[in-house]
Symmetry: C2
Subunit: 441 residues, 2 copies
C-alpha cells in the first residue's frame, strides 16, 4: 500500500468507500511520509500518530457497520494551529498560548468531522498568524521559506504528508504559502466560511482557506468548510455551496481571463515575470487587460490600518501580560495598531465596498482575473515568510482567490499563478481554474 499518501482526497475517499483500502492504510501512509520528511520540513505543531490511527480505525469500523459516511470519510486533513480542536492542543504559534486546550472544536473542524475527515494533526503557523516565522521549511528547498502564516498546512500538502489542509488568510496567508510550496490554495469569498473557534486577528479581514493537490480537492474541502454557522456574524441561512459539482462542469462558453497589472507590478521578480509572460502569451486569445482604478494603490495602507488596529485590539490581553515574549515585529505591529483611531479605521474600512464595486465590472467581461500569487518563488532564508503584497487587494475586498502551481524557476522552485473571482462566485472561479488546467495540459 505504498504511495497512498500521494492520492488526492477524492481518490482516497473513493478507495475507502469502495473498500480498496482502509482509512487506516491511508493514515499510515501519511504518517510514514511524515516520519520520513518531517525532520527536514517541520510542518507539524502537534501530531499524535496513535490518536490519528484511532480516528482512522473508528472510521473504518463505521464503514464496515454500514453506517452513513460523509464525502471525506476516512480522509486525513491537517489543521492550522490557530484553529481550535477539542482533542489536540491549539497553541497559536506563540509561547503565550503553550499548552492551550480548547474546550470545543472550531466550527469548521466540526464540519470536517461531520464529513468523516480524520483530523491528522495541527500544522505550524507563524506567531499568532502574523509575520514571525515558525519552524517550517520549504519542502522544495529547506533553505527557503514555505511562506506564511499557514506555513505548515502548505508544506505538509506539498510534501505528501496529507492530501488536504486548512489555513487562514488575513493578508496573503493561504495563497502565498501555497505558491511558495507549489500546491493548490483556495481562499473563499469573505464570510463564506465560519471563523468561530479560530484565533481572531481581524474580524473584517480573517478568511479561512484550503490547501490541496488538485482543484477538485479544493472544491471538495471548500464546500465542506462552507457549512452554515448560525453563530457567525453576518452569515445568512443557506445550504452548503455546490462547489465541487460546478467545478466539474464544462463552462458554458470558453472562459476569458483578465490580466490585471496591479500598481505593484514592477516588484515582480525577473524569473517570475518571464514565466508569467510566457503563460499570458500562450493564453493570448483568452486574455484581455483591465486597468486598475488609481485608488487601488492605497489599498496596502488601508489594509494595514485595519489589520494592525484589529491585531492590537484582538491581542490586547496577550500584549499586556506577555509583550516581552512576543517577537519584535508583532510588538511593533500592535504598538502601531494601538495608535489607530476609530475614525481612521472606519475611513479605511469604508473603502472596501467601493473598491470591490470598481473591480466588479471586470467580471461582466471576464470569468476571472489572472495575476501572480507572489512576487516570485519562495525567497531564500527562513527569517521572513515573504511579502503578501500580491494578495492584499483581493483579501481586502474579500474576493475568492486560487493559487495554481503552474510555473517553476530554473532551480526548481514553484511559482504561483493566482486566479481571482467575483465576490460570491467561488464555484465559477473553481470551474474556471479547472478549465485553465485542462487547456494547458
Amino acid at each position: 500500500m505504498e504511495g497512498l499518501n500521494w492520492l488526492t482526497a477524492r481518490q482516497a475517499a473513493q478507495g475507502i468507500r469502495d473498500g480498496v483500502f482502509s482509512s487506516e492504510d491511508v493514515v499510515k501512509a501519511c504518517l510514514a511520509q511524515i516520519e520520513a520528511r518531517e525532520p527536514e520540513v517541520q510542518a507539524w505543531a502537534h501530531l499524535d500518530p496513535e490518536h490519528a490511527l484511532t480516528q482512522a480505525r473508528e472510521a473504518d469500523k463505521r464503514r464496515s457497520e454500514g453506517k452513513p459516511t460523509g464525502p471525506l470519510h476516512g480522509v486525513p486533513v491537517g489543521i492550522k494551529d490557530i484553529i481550535d480542536t477539542l482533542d489536540m492542543p491549539t497553541e497559536d504559534g506563540t509561547v503565550l498560548h503553550s499548552g492551550r486546550r480548547p474546550w470545543q472544536d472550531a466550527k469548521i473542524v466540526d464540519a470536517l468531522r461531520a464529513a468523516g475527515a480524520i483530523i491528522l494533526g495541527k500544522t505550524v503557523t507563524t506567531e499568532m498568524a502574523t509575520y514571525a516565522p515558525g519552524k517550517t521549511r520549504n519542502p522544495h528547498n529547506p533553505e527557503h521559506t514555505p511562506g506564511g502564516s499557514s506555513s505548515g498546512s502548505a508544506a505538509a500538502v506539498a510534501a505528501g504528508m496529507v492530501p488536504l489542509a486548512v489555513g487562514t488568510q488575513t493578508n496573503g496567508s493561504v495563497i502565498r504559502p501555497a505558491a511558495y510550496c507549489g500546491v493548490f490554495g483556495f481562499k473563499p469569498t469573505r464570510g463564506t466560511v465560519s471563523c468561530r473557534g479560530i484565533l481572531a486577528q481581524s474580524e473584517l479581514l480573517d478568511q479561512p482557506g484550503c490547501f490541496a493537490r488538485t482543484v477538485e480537492d479544493l472544491a471538495l474541502l471548500g464546500e465542506t468548510l462552507s457549512t452554515y454557522d448560525e453563530h457567525q456574524k453576518g452569515m445568512r441561512p443557506r445550504s452548503t455551496l455546490p462547489l465541487l459539482r460546478v467545478c466539474e462542469e464544462e463552462p458554458p462558453l470558453p472562459p476569458t481571463l483578465s490580466l490585471v497589472r496591479t500598481p505593484w507590478w514592477d516588484e515582480l521578480d525577473a524569473d517570475a515575470r518571464e514565466g508569467f509572460s510566457e503563460l499570458i502569451d500562450h493564453l493570448s486569445d483568452r486574455i484581455g487587460e483591465f486597468e486598475m482604478p488609481d485608488s487601488s494603490v492605497q489599498v496596502l495602507e488601508w489594509h494595514k490600518t485595519i489589520m494592525e488596529a484589529d491585531i492590537a485590539a484582538s491581542y490586547e490581553s496577550d500584549y499586556e501580560r506577555g509583550k516581552e515574549r512576543m517577537s519584535k515585529s508583532l510588538r511593533e505591529q500592535i504598538e502601531r495598531g494601538r495608535a489607530v483611531s476609530v475614525v481612521d479605521y472606519r475611513r479605511a474600512a469604508a473603502r472596501i465596498e467601493p473598491i470591490t464595486e470598481s473591480l466588479d465590472e471586470v467580471f461582466d467581461r471576464f470569468d476571472a482575473i489572472i495575476t501572480p500569487s507572489a512576487q516570485g518563488p519562495a525567497p531564500h532564508g527562513l527569517d521572513s515568510t515573504g511579502s503578501p503584497q500580491f494578495c492584499t487587494l483581493w483579501t481586502f475586498c474579500g474576493m475568492p482567490a486560487i493559487n495554481l502551481p503552474l510555473l517553476t524557476t530554473g532551480n526548481g522552485l514553484p511559482v504561483g499563478v493566482q486566479l481571482v473571482g467575483r465576490v460570491g462566485d467561488d464555484a465559477r472561479l473553481l470551474r474556471t481554474a479547472r478549465w485553465l488546467l485542462t487547456t494547458l495540459a
Copy 2:
C-alpha cells in the same frame, strides 16, 4: 368629526376600516390640532398639509375600491427628521443638511406605507440626533424641554397632533422625551428594527423606537417597524413579530417586577422619588429587588466611548466641511470621539455582552425591570434636553424598554416609569406593561 385627532391608532384604523369616518377626516383633525398647537409646541420640521391630505384621499379611494388594506390603513404617523422620506425633505436637524431630499424611503417608512399609514410629516430632532436642542417645546409647559433627541415625535403625540410617531434612541432619545411629554414610548430590542435610511450615529447603539398614547398602539407600531430587512446587517430572516397579539394576551401568571436601583439612583429628584416610591409600595406584593453588578457603574463611560467615536466617524465629512456651523456641544463630542482608539473602542464594546448576560438572570425571576425613565420631570428651560442617564444602561445592552406615563408632579408635569425586558422578549414586555396598567387602573 371633532376629536378624531385624539383617537388611538387602533381606534382610528378601526373607524376607517368600518367606514365610520375616513382617513381624510382623521388627517384633517390632526392638521387642525397642529394649526392650533404648533405655534407653541413647534413639533414639526416639515409639514405639507396638502400632501398629507392627498395621501389620505388615496387611502380612502383604495378602501372604497375594495383593495386590500393594511393594519394602519389611513392612520397618520409622524417621522423623526433623521429618517429618510422620498417625498419630503430629511434635514437631520442641522443646517449642514438643509434642503436634503433622500432618493428613497428608509426601510421603516417603506414598511409603514405598506401597512397603509399616512406619512403626516417630519418631526423635529435635535442637531443630528445629539444634544443641541431643536425648536420644540414641552406641550405641558412651553418653558420646559420636551426631551430629545426625538423631541418633535414625543411632543406631537402628546399634543394630540398625531396618534403615532417614530423616533430613534442611541442613549435615551425615545424613552426620555416620552417621559417628559407624558406619552407611551417603546424602544425595541437592538437589531429588531431596520436602521437603513436613518441617519447613522452609531451602528452599535442606534435603535429606532415608537411613540403612542396606549401600549397597544406601541405594539401595533412596533410590529410594523419590525419588518425584516435583508440589507440590515445582523438581521436574520424572520416573520414580523406578533407584538400586538401577545400584548393583548393575559399573562399566564401575574407578572412580577424587579426594582433595580441603578448606581445613579441618588440623582433621582425628590418629586420623582416620592411618586416612584409610592408606586412601588402600591405594587409591593409583585415586586422584588435586584442588585446591579458593580461593573454597571462604568457603563456610562463605555457608552460614551462608543458613541463619541461612532459620531466622530459617522459625521466626519460634515465636520470637515462645516464644523463652524455645528453646535459647540456636537463639535466637542466629535473632537473627543476622534481621539478614541480602536483598542479602547473594542474594549468598551466587548463589555456589552457580559453586562447583558449579568442582567439576564433578573428575567429568570421577574417579568420586567421597573425603574425611572429619567431623573424627574422635564427640566425647566430649552437650552438642554435633559439627561439620558437613566436610559444608558438599557440602550448599551440593547434591551427593550417602555416608558409608561404613570406619574405627575404637583405642577402638572409628567414623570415616566420605565419597564425594561430581556433582550428579544419585546412581546412579553408589552404584555407586562399592559398588565401593569390594568392593575393600576
